[in-house]
Symmetry: C2
Amino acid sequence: MARKTGSHSDITGPRVRAAALRLFARDGFAAVSMRQIAAEVGVQAGALYLYTPDKQALLFDLLKAHMDDVLSHWAAEPKGSGPQEALEAFVRFHIRFSLTRAEAVFLSYMELRNLTADHFAKIEALRRAYEDQLEAILEEGQASGAFAVPDTKLATMAIIAMLTGVNTWYREGGRLSRDRVEQIYQDMVRSAVQA
Amino acid sequence: MARKTGSHSDITGPRVRAAALRLFARDGFAAVSMRQIAAEVGVQAGALYLYTPDKQALLFDLLKAHMDDVLSHWAAEPKGSGPQEALEAFVRFHIRFSLTRAEAVFLSYMELRNLTADHFAKIEALRRAYEDQLEAILEEGQASGAFAVPDTKLATMAIIAMLTGVNTWYREGGRLSRDRVEQIYQDMVRSAVQA
DNA sequence: CTTGGAATTGAACGCGCGTGCAGATACCAC
DNA sequence: GTGGTATCTGCACGCGCGTTCAATTCCAAG
């Protein structure tokens, strides 16, 4: 099990990625050793270097893949017509996607500081691109008179923080179903921005 | 410079705490060595053990002190009369306090996983106590008909996540003043919960 | 000036880290 | 089978880690 001859530029081995994601999310990047990741895969530490040039690149690959994942799934999401429906779609999508990718979401805002400057810049740009998707919806609603937000940038940050926060407390099989949670957040967001 | 004879039960040296807080917040608990903290204080690594039994306790002390700080300052905050004013007070307080204690706030939700189980339980209880302060306001407003939230627990988590999020983007001297940010968040929160 | 305890140093301990690499092994085309 | 190449092991390297502790320095009280 390893990639074809030499180059590290193609896709990191799926089993290595899965193990690294799980361990990084659970214990933090700095606290996880290459030997632990290797053990999780069932391999010796040296073999990991067939899949990644170093530990840091492994983290970057995970974050990059996650951000690409978020953006491409949102692009494929049906947005309905008009800003109100688009906002509802965004809220539903963000909560649902975050919950199904909890580990990657967690990693993506916990381990940014362990990236090198240029890796950080790349991830940051993708995150910004995602935020811009929401801000565009708010601006459109503002222009059409459907929404009344004092500052679209601020509202964007507020809404995303609020939605991502779901990950910190939601547990499968808890008091509220995922659908119910989505619905309640929809209502709160709608009334917060409504004209 | 060190405490009196033997016991570690009293207050960790202020300079050690300050250095540890700054470094932990910047690089993460796992990535900071006792030697780095010592260097920041201007002392050899061994001397730190006059102030703390171990590295882990140093982290706990910082988080515990921060949570006590939050709770006591909120307790001393004027709340006005009635749930609407209390909610406004909470929003203003949370944003202002978080911004003036940015490093401690950051640490308190980034490094929970580096605590032992019992240390974690203690911090968690304090965090819960703080959240309960907000939830009590929402419940009172709900009972009096001033607010209409579908679920006070959820609204509590949503509001706190939204407010704490300010820390991730707010920078002194940026586009918006702290007062303006507080005001905008007040408006968004109010309209999100208003009956 | 002496003295005794508090404060600090500096060296040491065993350990695990990220990474590299020579050699062993597994697997596939012929 | 045989050859070759993709895959992986096993060990090594230098290093910094958290923590301990005997020895030293500092400083105030007598």
